[in-house]
Amino acid sequence: MNVSESLRTGIGVTLSEALGFGGMTTVVGLAIVFGILLILMIVLYLFKLIFYKSPEKMKKEVVTETASASEEDEEELVAVLTAAVAATLQTSANRVRINTYKRVHTDSPVWNRAGRKEAMENKL
């Protein structure tokens, strides 16, 4: 690259020289950076074409039943359930879809369970 003596040593740089050379370097430099990353972007779009299967095939439909407090709003609850199911199945949350959920009641009455819990906690 042709660089004048003053720009090379930094002694006696003029303003027009600084702006002219600086501007040119900016244009060339940014063009190269964008060029390389643009190529990589195209490569990544090719990745998507080659490797990415449609989500319908990937997603397992998991119907889950669980007991949970229903005070939160629906979306938050579904998010929590998705994460819980994904964690239990040791898979990505992307592969889990909650279609329905249902509160499951236990056989024993609440008072019996509370009594058992208290008894257990006293043992600890």
Binding site: S6, R8, G10, A18, G22, F51
Partner: protein, 407 residues
């Protein structure tokens, strides 16, 4: 006995402090104070302590008053200023820090740090959203803007004479990537190394303070609250092929960037391949920690009074801030453009994460986005531009190196 006592007194640091007169003594004291301030920032304010603490202590070590030609001197910056690196002389006469500094001078440490960073980086979000890679390019705007700025300062202020090499080294601070900045500076303008390293790492720690005002200034409230589509899942095959392809593409276009990008991608492949777990663990833990200590202490040790106490240092610190700000703005403006082009599907806040500084810049995007819309989670979307920024700044470094190394 009195004689030996006197000669001991002459060898102490107190005697050495005044050997060159009061002015030099004051300079030494100022440098020790600067080192202590940096130690304070690292320990109490937690500014990138893993790097700033070794840098500050290196600065302390190198500025301790020493009798001339004493064998106790750990660092001789003058050994490294000549045109030819006299490795033999450094090995015979050099102190501990001289020997360790060879790793900086020969360009060994920064790529090895990149190796570790590669092991810790997940390119998944980038692969899932390819257009976010362009934000990592736009955020290099500050690098080139500051390059021009440094040349203009050199033209306007007679006491500062920065040529293109110095300007490039100062500009690369805007890449917000410490190892890259060190790599470029040690090649092009070694005299500026301490100031540039301190500026780069301090501003990186200040990203949560520097970025938000500009993020609000350059985006609209409506755009900031955009919730982006969930990213697609990325298969293991893609994650394995990605580092290989990037290395080849970068090498074909700009070979000077390969030592950084190649090591980054090697580290990433160690992790993603899943068959080199032991190597990946070492690269990102023990190896990287060892190199970080060596790099920090020796870069700090180049900060002698002559190199550091000059108007140029103040200029570098000011320009470093400008570099960070304009890189942020560059990313945000392309983010805005993407917001318009995709008709509101892209949140422009992820643009500011295009300055590397992984993962701090992405966290800032998340934080600012959540202020606008508390249920919005931008973190993963911002990680795409964030890791693209690492590639982008390494490429920008390669551009400078290929333009200015030989001149």
């Amino acid at each position: 006995m009195l004689e030996s006592f006197a000669s001991f007194l002459q060898s102490t640091g107190v005697a050495a402090l005044f050997q060159d007169g009061v002015v030099d003594a004051v300079k030494i004291i100022i440098m020790l104070a600067v080192a202590c301030v940096l130690l304070y920032l690292a320990i109490v304010k937690k500014f990138e302590p893993l790097l700033l603490l070794p840098i500050a202590f290196g600065m302390l070590l190198t500025n301790l008053p020493m009798i001339k030609d004493s064998s106790a001197i750990m660092m001789h910056p003058e050994f490294f200023t000549g045109k030819v690196l006299e490795v033999g002389k450094i090995c015979r006469e050099g102190g501990l820090l001289d020997l360790l500094y060879l790793g900086v001078k020969l360009g060994i440490y920064p790529p090895l740090i990149f190796l570790g960073i590669g092991c810790m980086t997940d390119f998944g979000p980038l692969i899932a959203n390819p257009k976010s890679i362009l934000l990592g390019a736009a955020a290099q705007f500050g690098v080139f803007f500051t390059f021009v700025g440094a040349l203009v300062i050199s033209a306007l202020i007679p006491s500062i004479s920065w040529g293109v090499k110095e300007a490039a080294s100062i500009g690369i601070i805007g890449g917000a990537d410490g190892p890259t900045a060190i790599y470029v500076t040690k090649t092009l303008a070694p005299a500026l190394l301490p100031a540039i390293a301190v500026a780069a790492y301090s501003y990186m720690a200040l990203i949560p303070i520097i970025q938000p005002p500009f993020m609000k200034l350059f985006t609209t409230k409506k755009a900031r609250s955009v919730v982006m589509e969930q990213l697609r899942p990325v298969s293991k095959t893609e994650k394995i092929i990605f580092p290989i392809v990037v290395t080849i593409v970068v090498a074909l276009v700009i070979p000077d960037a390969v030592s950084l990008v190649g090591c980054l991608m090697l580290g990433n492949l160690l992790k993603e391949s899943g068959v080199c777990d032991r190597l990946a663990k070492t690269a990102q833990n023990e190896l990287m920690n060892i190199i970080t200590i060596f790099l920090g202490v020796t870069v700090g040790a180049t900060a002698t009074a002559e190199a550091f106490l000059s108007p140029a240092t103040l200029g570098i610190i000011a320009l470093g801030l400008i570099a960070f700000i304009f890189s942020t703005i560059g990313g945000l403006l392309l983010g805005d453009l993407m917001y318009v082009l995709t008709k509101g599907k892209v949140n422009p806040l992820i643009g500011s994460a295009g300055v590397s500084a992984v993962p701090m810049a992405a966290r800032v995007s998340q934080m600012v986005g959540q202020k606008e819309n508390p249920s919005n989670f931008l973190l993963m979307h911002a990680m795409g531009p964030n890791v693209a920024g690492v590639i982008g700044s390494a490429v920008a470094a390669g551009v400078f190196l290929s333009m200015f190394t030989g001149i």
